[in-house]
Amino acid sequence: MDMLLLAELSINGVFVGLMYALVAAGIVLIYKTSGIANLAQGALAMMGGYAAWAFTAMVGLPIWLAIPIALAVMFLAGVALERFALRRMVGQPIIMVIMLTLGLEIMLRGVLPGLFGSAVKRLDVGIPNTPLFLGDLFLNRATLIGGSVSFVLILLAIAFFNSRLGIIMRAVSDDQSASWSVGIRVERAIAIAWGLSAMMATTAGVLWGATQGVDWSLSLLLIKALAIAILGGLDSLPGVLIAGIIVGLAESLATGILDPIVGGGTRDVVASVIIVLTLLLRPHGLFGREHIERV
């Protein structure tokens, strides 16, 4: 195989993987705080993409203003989601809470295209489409920028979990009753986690929206994000970074190497194979904490 093509696919795969990882980081953020796997994260990314598009195309705001407003609105939406939907589920079996997030995913996937129209929307964040070549090596400018932004944001999220508020959230994650007993406002911490997670989803929605356009298919980011979160460890943000790179690389190389042999279609298989193998061989992922229950 052409080594240059291999290099192009690898570099591209790494940055695409980092963009997926940003969605996964939102899942991890919520899991770390409340122990819930949020299956609505893909739909939140789609909602964030629609929000940014609506503020620029419908309200007429410049994109540099539309994005922060969309982030703020989505933070509030995340907090509201926790306050009015998730909090009502306190005391219910965890599977019911996960089903609720799945219901939200399905609902948003139907409602938003119905509200804004189902055609793909253009979201121009100012990244030029002109090709970028380093010698003979082609680099995809959109994924390069998107991946870099995602990388920085995930690093910030890791730093955040070492801040005071982050430590509070980790405490809530470890033991909610103990957190209550020392005066931590557990509900507030969880609500903030949902808000931050929605902001991360929005950033991912904007970056992916700028790459592919905004439509319902942004919600499909959930599958890749789940694969990354499971591989990296559902409670590990650094794990998300590494797993994102692995998944992105594997997908990109599979498309270049396996597709011509088997006739295509391997890209999505990669994510599902990773989910299945991780759960079978290392259920807590590469960097997740292994929970040991004493009985």
Binding site: D2, L4, L5, E8, L9, N12, G13, V16, G110, P113, G114, G117, S118, A119, V120, K121, R122, D124, N129, T130, P131, F138, N140, R141, A142, T143, W208, T211, Q212, G213, D215, W216, S217, L218, L220, E251, S252, T255, G256, D259, G263, G264, G265, R267, D268
Partner: protein
């Protein structure tokens, strides 16, 4: 009042109250079409505009007094590309006396084929459904009324040949969604590659095609003379965007009927200047039927959707197909003015359409009991940065290869029912 008298009186009143309704219904001259389509799932990229075009054209006809006193009633609903819902909508339409159904969905159309053949209800499968339905001898009640995917691929290859003189030794890349729809043109392309000596390189991508970043570097490195990209919705916009990012020559990029003005806007209208598409009818607002709709339906405030969508590609596809159907109704009335209005009655009318061109908006369409494609004519247009501009007149090409394939599959259907 005695209980018995009361009940008798009530029953009589109920009976009498129904009589005028029955009489009125008998006097109503209504032809019912069922248009359960996918407004919410897979075909969302086209359905709203297509349906708007259909409803506006029907409003135009009805506003002019209908056809020979008959008005058209279109029952529009959402089947969400879901087979049980679509079948339920079909059965309801059958009960209500619909003589035609237009589901605008390949899986739904495929599922309904046995039913429409048995019930003798005309099913329109324009730009969708099975390509072998062009053979009316095998599928008498399935009406593509438009160039199928095999014809569209054949037209593009012929256009490339016209431009390059000869395709011998050329390389054509076919980038397609990895679904039965995306793979559909492959047999024709393989046969034409063998006949004309070009190299065919295929690049399937996983549906819906929202990430093709690993595909297009490979396409660029293949150094193709021509590229065909074959998908729909987000798959098309992503293909265009990635092609631009990879520095592909846009004037050598081409696609089927499934690319529209809004796709070009998403990918960057100026960036994709030159991209080619198969145009089954004229786009824009110049065609006379579109002008008539604007004047007689939209301006009085009776339009079925946003005014800015009038004249877009998919809107015009809806107008095109409805104009052909209405022509079929006209022919049916000519042949049997007193009906009865049934599926076979309309089928006879559709089979009698000869060189109908909707005031120049579409190529001359002739539907016969053998050819339900209507002649397989379309034209090639390119994007000039603002709109699609025709590069050719309406023409047809490679129909020998296409019909060989159609007959191969339709014969199989006749034998096995599959």
């Amino acid at each position: 009042m005695e209980r018995r008298t009361f009940l008798t009186g009530t029953a009589a009143a109920a009976l009498v109250s129904q009589m005028p309704i029955t009489i009125a219904r008998a006097q109503d001259k209504v032809i019912k079409f069922a248009m359960p389509q996918d407004f919410t799932k897979v075909y969302t990229f086209v359905t709203a505009e297509y349906s708007q075009g259909q409803r506006d054209y029907i409003s135009l006809i009805n506003a002019r007094g209908g056809i020979n006193g008959y008005t058209i009633e279109a029952d529009v609903s959402d089947h969400g590309n879901d087979l049980p819902r679509a079948i339920e909508a079909y059965e309801r339409a059958k009960t209500e006396g619909a003589v035609l159904i237009d589901p605008l969905s390949t899986p739904v159309a495929r599922a309904l084929v046995p039913r429409v053949l048995e019930d003798e209800i005309n099913m329109v499968t324009a730009f969708s459904g099975r390509s072998d339905a062009a053979d009316g001898t095998a599928f008498p009640y399935v009406m593509p009324l438009s160039p199928n995917y095999w014809t569209q691929a054949g037209l593009l290859i012929d256009y490339f040949r016209q431009k390059d003189g000869d395709l011998n030794g050329k390389k054509i890349c076919f980038v397609h969604i990895d679904t039965p729809f995306g793979k559909e043109p492959l047999p024709i392309l393989e046969k034409l590659a063998e006949q004309q000596g070009f190299e065919l390189v295929t690049f399937p991508y996983t549906p819906p095609g929202n990430d093709q970043s690993a595909i297009w570097p490979q396409v660029r490195r293949a150094r193709p003379d021509w590229v065909m990209f074959w998908g729909a919705g987000v798959g098309q916009t992503t293909a265009l965007t990635e092609a631009v990012r990879n520095g592909m020559d846009m004037s050598r990029m081409s696609s089927s009927v499934w690319i529209s003005e809004s796709d070009m806007e998403v990918a960057g209208a100026q960036d994709v200047t030159g991209v080619l598409k198969v145009e089954p009818c004229a786009s824009g607002r110049d065609p006379k039927p579109i002008q008539d709709i604007l004047a007689e339906v939209v301006e009085p405030g009776n339009g079925a959707g946003p005014e800015e969508k009038v004249g877009t590609s998919y809107y015009n596809y809806g107008v095109m197909i409805t104009a052909i159907i209405i022509e079929g109704v006209r022919k049916a009335i000519e042949k049997a003015p007193d009906g009865p209005v049934t599926g076979p009655w309309l089928n006879d009318g559709l089979h009698s359409i000869r060189d109908f061109d909707a005031d120049g908006m579409i190529p001359p369409v002739t539907i016969t009991p053998e050819d339900h494609q209507g002649g397989g004519m379309a034209r090639i247009a390119h994007w000039d940065g603002e709109k699609f501009v025709a590069d050719t007149d309406f023409f047809t090409a490679n129909q020998d290869v296409v019909w060989e394939e159609i007959r191969k599959y339709s014969e199989e259907f006749k034998k096995t029912g599959e």
